[in-house]
């Protein structure tokens, strides 16, 4: 007879946490899958653009607007030296040759009419509007976190890290995504600065289990060593 505890122990030990070849194989598999996902998204985008182009061309062809659409496309992909706000000026002399170059047989037999005056140029210039200054953007809490993380782990500057953790905590609030980690790391920054009483006060909620099991054992050991 085998009791449940022994079976539980066997299951735990049979699949213990250890480095294995599966780790490397799994990583390669993940790399392939992530790469495939990117390629798939790129293909979707290309297919979408191609479908849009075909749709617009078909519509323009059936409604007789193909030359105008072609001219618009040509204007869009025109060389960058051309000024962008040409459409506000008088009709460019290249407009007629552009149409002619797209469908020369269609317009060769017809007398060339002067192009209609561009509608946009007839419109009065827009009045400059005074917009109220936009409200200041909310703080980028992720950027604040990265800044604190860099000061704490990369530069190993506890004073800068402490200030940065405080800034993150002020911006993220009590329900921030990494508030728990930030509080714990802030306590460690205090400890490294030799501010033992403040560090102990910051660690005590962790040791009391106010944040569940998160870092509870570590915090308990630290608090005991700070008494």
């Amino acid at each position: 007879m085998t009791d449940l505890d022994a079976l539980t122990r066997a299951l735990r030990e049979e699949h213990s946490v250890e480095a294995s070849s599966e780790g490397e194989l799994g990583r390669r598999r993940l790399e392939r899958a992530v790469g495939r996902g990117k390629r798939k998204r790129r293909l979707h985008l290309v297919a979408l653009l191609a479908a849009s182009f075909v749709g617009v061309t078909a519509w323009a062809g059936t409604t007789g607007r193909l030359p105008r659409v072609a001219a618009m496309i040509e204007a869009l992909v025109a060389s960058p030296e051309e000024p962008r706000d040409e459409r506000h000026a008088a009709a460019p002399p290249s407009a007629v040759p552009a149409i002619a170059s797209v469908a020369p047989t269609a317009i060769a037999s017809e007398p060339i009419e002067p192009p209609p005056p561009p509608v946009v140029s007839a419109a009065p210039a827009p009045k400059p509007t005074v917009r109220p200054a936009p409200p200041p953007p909310p703080p980028d809490v992720d950027a604040l976190y990265r800044e604190a993380h860099a000061a704490h782990f990369d530069r190993k500057d506890p004073a800068a890290a402490l200030a940065a953790w405080d800034r993150y905590l002020a911006a993220a609030g009590p329900s921030g995504r990494f508030t728990l980690e930030a509080r714990y790391n802030r306590a460690l920054a205090l400890l490294r600065l030799g501010r033992r009483d403040e560090a102990r006060a910051a660690l005590e909620p962790f040791a009391r289990g106010e944040y569940g099991g998160y870092r509870r054992d570590d915090a308990t050991r630290l608090v005991e060593s700070l008494r």
Partner: protein, 188 residues
């Protein structure tokens, strides 16, 4: 003391992985795959299917991290993602085991293992088969609390449940497991 002073390094990678940075995803993989794999094997009881689950978890991780609010450590969060996505693999593994036991009452074990290892593997397989009789939520609670030795408070935070709910699930799971094992004639 040194262990205690080791800070949380994971969150930075979480932020970057949630933004879709590949390198950050692989940092998280390197840091946590062994624990996630061990959990997946314990939960599913089938190494190949557990491997599929690990793959699925890390593929889904960037999206899952968008809703990470620091309720638990990064590692526990990734394990909780595995727990929440495991149902499909648990079912497949249970079907596979049921089919195996239909053809043979003897568990299929690896070739010529030392006695101790063979016995441990056999015992693990017995428990995996018994776990197949449980609903998924009880199975997850049992594996996290009893096999992985996490507290009910921690598991509650991971799964978004009350600690009392987790304790009740574990208690029910143990009762059912004892019944299943007694019926199977393998354990008390």
């Amino acid at each position: 003391m040194d262990d205690a002073v080791a800070s949380e390094r994971g969150p930075d990678a979480c932020v970057r992985a949630a933004r879709g940075e590949r390198d950050a995803l692989f940092e998280l993989y390197e840091a946590h795959h062994a624990h996630v794999r061990a959990f997946a094997r314990r939960l599913v009881g089938d190494e190949a299917l557990a491997e599929d689950l690990v793959h699925d978890v890390f593929l889904a991780l960037p999206k899952a991290l968008e809703s990470f609010r620091g309720e638990c450590s990064v590692r526990s969060y990734i394990v909780s993602v595995a727990a929440k996505r495991a149902q499909r693999w648990i079912r497949t593994a249970a079907r596979r085991r049921a089919m195996e036991s239909r053809f043979s009452r003897e568990p299929i074990s690896g070739p010529s293992l030392p006695d101790e290892s063979a016995q441990r593997r056999e015992m693990a397989e017995i428990l995996s088969r018994a776990l197949d009789t449980l609903p998924v939520d009880q199975r997850v609670a049992f594996v996290l609390c009893e096999v992985e030795e996490r507290t009910s408070t921690e598991v509650g935070a991971m799964l978004g449940e009350k600690a009392a709910t987790i304790r009740a699930r574990v208690k029910l799971a143990k009762t059912k497991l004892r019944e299943a094992l007694a019926k199977d004639g393998g354990a008390s």
